[in-house]
């Protein structure tokens, strides 16, 4: 929460005590404070869940290692996956949207400020409840502590008979609470974007970031309820003896998979769309060109949103669906490549012929472009059902989705931190430390995950706590683990940079990047009311219009 406290410390003429500051956080309904609280909490959970990943890599560094017991290993990968998706990815996108959307559309706050606070606290308490399982899960009947059923909790492993004790219930309840928080935030975002835009900001003049967040919010509305519904069913199974997923009573274990992935696949796009949103803001500013093909970017994002609801069963090729089903889901999955390709080409088109500035946000975005392309290509490989039969549940799949979520999402989150930190805190992040962060992380990431593809081809399954020597997996696992050390060092650079620059960083001023969207028209950090007078806009780049009166955008739009 260091980020937040520093932001408050800059409030005029006062040096409030810690109690006062905490009280302010608890009662606040301000979208900026809530946004920073989301991001701070998400970064906290990120370090926790990241450390869990490091422990798993340590266990796998050599064959036949017994650093961690199999039971603990199961809990580690379950909690790592669950926390990264629900306590890091979702809240960090909620935080960015919360902080930036009202500023970008020229509003003073979200449409429903109290509901906004409610959404944050639901997520926060849900996260605490999930981790509380480590302390309390063992209390009753001494069976297991934290959840250990995998982040997608396949049935029938989650039935009472196979998962006694309360650990699975912790997983259900915590995610259910977080789900309510996400839905509430999505409703709020939709109401804000439709109803709070400043004068002149028509839908087609909104920054791409706002468009993508609108689509993400819509996807959350449709994707979270299937998960909640499935979890309610599982809860009924476990507590009231219902039979939804009880195969002995005629129930279907595959139904859980369908319900889970109807949520789970759109969820992947819910997580990656904010990455697109950030890249679509940063790449134009640092290429000094407007975004290429804005209407097509919007249309492609909407297309991705729609298609994402028709591809879920590609997670289930190995279940044994009909050949028609396999073909259908393979084809729809490959179809996603079309709008995603449009986006990548448009980002390249934006950079083409531009005067590119290689500042830190841009570096991370370029890293994102390369890595996301690789992630997309391995995705298309896995979309071919026969290929998937061979490699499903291997470390190849793990490497693929870590390329999406780290190489894609996390890189743009780093970019967003370097880009908007000056706006939120008022000081620039240190560039030298940032470069250390970028290069250490990039090298570490590629060491870990490029090599991880190969043992997948050689047949190494995911989620195994150890393996025998002599299968040809040793060297790749060793390299993977070494990469983790570099990544950890890189994250340490970031944390130090965040703390150090908050006090000692160079003053940012209102508009350090010579950018064009409305958040740069107010002070850094912005006052509680954002704008003294609500702005009016005539084009997609209102600040450009003022900076270049000889050639404003509204002549062309």
């Amino acid at each position: 929460m260091a980020v937040q406290e520093v932001a408050l410390a800059r409030a005029p003429e006062m040096h409030p005590s810690i109690i006062t500051r905490l009280h302010e956080l608890v009662v606040t309904v301000d979208h900026k404070k809530l946004g920073l609280m989301y991001i701070a909490a998400a970064l906290f959970f990120f370090t926790v869940a990241g450390s869990m990943a490091a422990l798993m890599r340590l266990q796998l560094v050599v064959p036949n290692n017994d650093f961690i017991s199999p039971q603990v290993f199961n809990r580690l990968f379950t909690m790592h996956g669950t926390a990264m998706v629900f306590l890091v990815g979702m809240p960090i996108l909620a935080g960015l949207a919360n902080y930036l959307v009202p500023l970008m559309i020229g509003a003073r706050d979200m449409a429903l400020p109290r509901l906004n606070a409610f959404g944050f606290w639901m997520f926060f308490f849900g996260g605490l409840l999930l981790y509380f399982s480590y302390l309390a899960g063992a209390g009753l009947s001494g069976m297991g502590s934290a959840p250990d059923v995998g982040w997608f909790a396949y049935s029938p492993l989650t039935a009472r008979a196979f998962s006694p004790g309360m650990s699975t219930d912790y997983w259900i309840l915590a995610i259910l609470l977080g789900g309510i928080g996400s839905i509430v935030t999505a409703i709020n975002l939709i109401a804000t974007i439709f109803c709070m835009r400043c004068k002149g900001m028509t839908l087609m003049r909104m920054p791409m970031f706002v468009w993508l967040m609108l689509i993400v919010a819509g996807m959350i509305l449709l994707a979270m309820p299937p998960l909640s519904a499935a979890q309610i069913m599982l809860l009924l199974d476990r507590f009231l003896g219902a039979m939804f997923f009880d195969t002995q009573a005629g129930g279907s274990a595959v139904l859980w998979q369908h319900f889970f992935w109807i949520f789970g696949h759109p969820e992947v796009y819910i997580l990656i769309m904010p990455a697109f949103a950030v890249a679509s803001e940063i790449i134009p500013v640092f290429s000094r060109k407007p975004i290429f093909g804005y209407p097509f970017m919007v249309a492609a994002a909407i297309m991705i949103g729609f298609i994402s609801f028709g591809v879920w069963a590609h997670h289930m090729f190995t279940v044994g669906m009909s050949s028609i089903g396999n073909t259908f889901f393979a084809v729809t999955t490959m179809l996603v490549g079309v709008p995603t390709g449009i986006k990548i080409f448009n980002w390249l088109g934006t950079m083409y012929g531009g005067k590119i500035r290689f500042e830190l946000p841009m570096l991370f975005c370029i890293g994102f472009l390369f890595q996301f392309l690789i992630a997309g290509l391995t995705g298309i490989m896995l979309a071919a059902a026969p290929f998937d039969w061979q490699l499903s549940d291997s470390t190849f799949v793990v490497a693929h989705f870590h390329f999406v979520l780290i190489g894609g999402l996390l890189y743009t989150i780093f970019a967003a931190i370097y880009y908007w930190y000056p706006k939120a805190i008022g000081r620039m992040l240190n560039k030298k430390l940032g470069l250390w962060h970028f290069w250490l992380f990039t090298i570490g990431f590629h060491l870990t995950f490029d090599t991880m593809h190969i043992p997948g081809f050689l047949g190494m399954p995911r989620r195994i706590y150890t393996y025998d020597a002599g299968r040809g997996w040793e060297v790749f696992n060793m390299i993977s683990t070494i990469g983790v050390a570099l990544q950890a060092a890189a994250v340490l650079c970031l944390v130090i940079n965040l703390l150090w620059s908050a006090r000692k960083g160079e003053k940012a001023g209102d508009d350090p990047w010579d950018a064009w969207t409305l958040e740069w028209a107010t002070t850094s950090p912005p006052p509680a009311y954002n704008f003294e007078v609500l702005p009016k806009v005539r084009s997609r780049r209102p600040l450009w219009d003022i900076k270049h009166p000889e050639d404003p955008d509204w002549r062309y739009e």
């Binding site: 005029p12 608890v26 009662v27 606040t28 309904v29 301000d30 003073r108 706050d109 400020p113 109290r114 509901l115 606070a117 409610f118 606290w121 639901m122 308490f125 849900g126 605490l128 409840l129 509380f132 399982s133 309390a136 209390g139 009753l140 309360m166 219930d169 912790y170 309840l173 609470l177 309510i180 928080g181 000094r288 060109k289 407007p290 290429f292 050949s323 073909t327 088109g349 012929g353 531009g354 001023g509 209102d510 010579d514 028209a521 107010t522 002070t523 006052p527 509680a528 009311y529 003294e532 007078v533 609500l534 600040l543 003022i546 900076k547 270049h548 009166p549 050639d551 002549r555 062309y556």
Partner: protein
């Protein structure tokens, strides 16, 4: 939220939603309520009480009027600086400038000619393929059934007699596949032809493209349609491709070219009046 009359005038204070802890209490209540399921009933009871308390408190916050507080506007010295006019000038990326590699077709074949050509070419190709079926296997249904095997598992496992017999489903599937692909490839022809060195349109369209396409099919057919791959006669296949290419190329090449808007000034494209000639929107340096 603000209701000041003169909206460009900077007010002394601005109404913002008042801070409140009730949403947090409500969220905490709900959390305890469900946490009771995995701990003690007493936790649920406390949670329920907090939930009710939070709901009532929240309701009082917004009824009969949403509570606001007045936030004083910061003094002028702490407000945002005026945005300065940039000293940088705008350079535009233009077609024809050295190092700008865009080739923009000034005239194109209408897309409809591509579809038309694709369909007619598809018929020509089908004729050649059926001729092959008739000559080699005494059945015009043979190539049709082979094509249908791409989507029909039953055809993929059929033996020679079944492949030679007429089958309604496979005929329809083959027809759809063939028509769709003919249209798409025809469209591709129509788009690509003006981009290729133009004197040789007949060569490109009739021979080289079918051969390239055949090469692509040769490399991938084993994955897409193993049945067809096992029984295909490549010479006849290339012949049918060339028939397609010649007919499609002929039709497209003889269609009337239409002018694109690509070379028009942007202002003309938008139907607006603007100073000077402006080319692409994207691109200032």
């Amino acid at each position: 939220m603000t209701s000041d009359q003169n909206e460009d005038h900077i007010p002394d204070a601005i109404e913002m939603p008042a801070p409140t802890y009730w949403p947090m209490i409500l969220a905490f209540g709900i959390t305890l309520l469900v946490a009771g399921l995995v701990t003690q009933v007493a936790v649920s009871v406390v949670g329920l009480l907090l939930l009710l308390l939070g709901a009532v408190g929240w309701f009082k916050e917004i009824f009969p009027m949403e509570k606001h507080e007045l936030v004083p506007v910061l003094p002028e010295s702490q407000r945002a600086q005026p945005i300065k006019v940039s000293s940088r000038s705008v350079a535009r990326l233009q077609a024809g400038v050295a190092s700008h590699r865009v080739r923009i077709p000034a005239q194109i074949h209408p897309y409809s000619s591509g579809i038309k050509g694709g369909l007619v070419g598809g018929i020509a190709m089908a004729l050649v393929a059926c001729l092959y079926g008739f000559i080699a296997h005494d059945s015009i249904w043979y190539p049709i059934n082979l094509l249908a095997a791409v989507a029909l598992p039953s055809m993929a496992m059929a033996d020679l007699t079944q492949l030679k017999a007429f089958d309604g489903t496979s005929f329809i599937i083959a027809l759809i596949c063939h028509a769709a692909f003919s249209c798409l490839v025809g469209l591709l022809f129509a788009i690509l032809l003006p981009m290729l060195p133009s004197r040789r349109a007949a060569f490109w369209g009739s021979f080289l493209s079918p051969i390239l396409w055949s090469a692509l099919v040769w490399a991938t057919l084993g994955l897409i349609n193993p049945t067809l791959n096992a029984r295909i006669n490549w010479i006849w296949f290339v012949a049918s491709q060339i028939a397609f290419g010649m007919v499609t190329g002929y039709i497209i090449h003889h269609s009337k070219m239409v002018e694109t808007m690509q070379t028009w000034p942007l202002a003309a494209r938008a139907g607006l009046e603007a100073r000077g000639v402006m080319y692409e929107k994207g691109g200032e340096k």
